[in-house]
Amino acid sequence: MIVAEQKPIKDIVAMIPEASSLLVVGCDTCVTVCMAGGIKEVNALTSVLRMARKDIARIEGTSVERQCDREFLEELEESVQAADAVLSMACGAGVQMLSDYFEGKIVLPALNTLFMGSNEEAGYWMERCLGCGDCVLDLTGGICPRTRCSKGLMNGPCGGSEGGKCEVDPENLECGWNLIYNRLKALNRLDSMMEIRPPQNWSTSHDGGPRRLIREDVKL
């Protein structure tokens, strides 16, 4: 899922312009699961803003199934048009879709979008995928070196691996390549560590405007 966290309240309060009504819009998908922008968080933030921005006469909250999907934005038509500004509690994709859909409305982000990742345990999320567009998980025992190694190395651990930890944060961060090594060893596939992986083709990554996917087979 996409993992996000709420911006500091003072930043949110400061970014909202003068207005007589504000609509806070949550998203029921990823950011609900990571407890950053679901209806629960919308209600909490709405209460805080009513205290912090008493100059705004009306502050309402709602949420939609998926803010990054046009079909779920139609239902917001009336409430958005009634507001001077909209505060989105979705990820960056949701904020942008809302802004596109309601052109001419001020749409503001309440979250910082962090990464694609997993929920490891209560209150702990970790990045798992960079979205580089060139997956190598078949070669690395299902552990991504580009994401899990602090330097994104492709040919094994650097000299900063000690006790299974990465020197960048030896208290909390596991050495990605140590994990890969142990996994490949368990799978009896250590031989693949000796293959020299060529430089990555970064053209499939974020390196030339927004990446697009067009599939003729599902076009209408």
């Binding site: 330097k151 994104g152 094994g156 650097c158 691996s161 000690e162 020197e167 140590n178 090594y181 990555q200």
Partner: protein, 330 residues
């Protein structure tokens, strides 16, 4: 003969054969069987040349070639190639260190052409310290390629006359292929984990194209000896020139710091005890360093020593002298 002094031609299909002969003095001394001495020089943090001049004086006639670090510990300093050029104008042979942290493949290859144009013969290919350790922790890291890919790329440039993209290194279809010609080095850390992988990582770097290797600084001679035994058992010492790394101990505090805070450095308790019990820690440290080098000279497979006296280049001459390695050969 190392691969470097051997002559080879460019990739098949090329019209113009080019002799790839690195004129590295370091390569020549190693080929001649000398136990070589290299030393590390950290460039200064301003354009005041006096610090550099002083360091050069300390190392002149002491080290056969001098490693110039590349923004080591991710702190901005005079560039490795800029410092190396200055060193050559003072009659010394540099080993340019090149990391993957700050440059993509375009910048690296361009800098290597520039280094070669200015006369640089030796290159040490490194991953580079993470930017979070330095004085610009908010900088964006590059790591377009890693150290293995860098080694392979430099080897392809030298031996096959091609850039990473596959194009030939020449100015026109009729012009000669003229690639940069480096004696190619890499680093090895016998103490980092997984320990059992470390010999294979060296082998992988050899397969990628290194001619020489300099190790992480050694304090634990037992672990190092075991690593060397594995290296010799796999015959790797016959495929690469191995220079054992040392960092002279300046104080007990410094040694404790190395033990506790530097990942990939192992310090045995017996050595801590020896330095703690010494009347003057720094003198005992220098004595230990010279002892290590005398041991390396007797160990199978070790072709030289690499002295990393961090911001203490002044100490190098005394160490080399105490190890019986002065004067240096021409």
């Amino acid at each position: 003969m190392s691969n470097v002094t051997a002559e080879s031609t460019t990739a098949a299909g090329s019209q113009t054969a080019v002799r790839v002969t690195a004129e590295s003095r370091l390569a020549r001394l190693l080929d001649q069987g000398h136990f070589v001495v290299t030393a590390e020089l950290g460039p200064p943090r301003s354009v005041d040349p006096s610090v550099l001049d002083t360091k050069i004086e300390y190392l002149k006639g002491v080290a056969d070639a001098v490693n110039i670090t590349d923004n080591q510990t991710a702190i901005v300093r005079i560039s490795s190639i800029g410092t190396a050029t200055y060193l050559m104008s003072r009659g010394m042979e540099p080993i340019v260190q090149m990391t993957c942290r700050d440059r993509n493949r375009l910048a690296i290859q361009a800098d290597l052409l520039g280094a070669s144009l200015n006369g640089v013969k030796n290159l040490l290919c490194l991953t580079g310290d993470h930017q979070s350790f330095g004085n610009h922790p908010e900088a964006k890291q590059v790591y377009d390629i890693d150290s293995l890919q860098l080694i392979y790329m430099v080897r392809q440039m030298r031996d096959n006359g091609i850039f990473q993209c596959g194009e030939e290194i020449r100015n026109s279809k009729k012009a000669n292929v003229l690639p940069p010609r480096f004696f190619i080095g890499g680093a090895a850390n016998p103490f980092a984990e997984p320990l059992e992988w470390r010999v294979f990582r060296l082998e992988k770097k050899i397969n990628a194209g290194i001619d020489f290797v300099q190790t992480q600084c050694i304090y634990d001679m037992d672990v190092f000896s075991r690593w060397m035994e594995m290296v010799v058992k796999r015959g790797l010492h016959k495929r690469v020139k191995i220079l054992a790394g040392v960092t002279p101990i300046r104080s007990l505090g410094m040694l404790r710091y190395m033990k506790e805070s530097v990942a990939g450095v192992t310090v045995p308790d017996s050595l801590l005890g020896r330095i703690a019990d010494a009347e003057v820690a720094r003198e005992e440290g220098l004595k230990f360093c010279a002892e290590q080098i005398r041991q390396f000279q007797k160990m199978e497979g070790i072709a030289g020593v690499h002295i990393m006296a961090i911001e203490w280049e002044k100490a190098v001459r005394g160490i080399v002298e105490a190890a019986g390695l002065l004067p240096r050969p021409d």
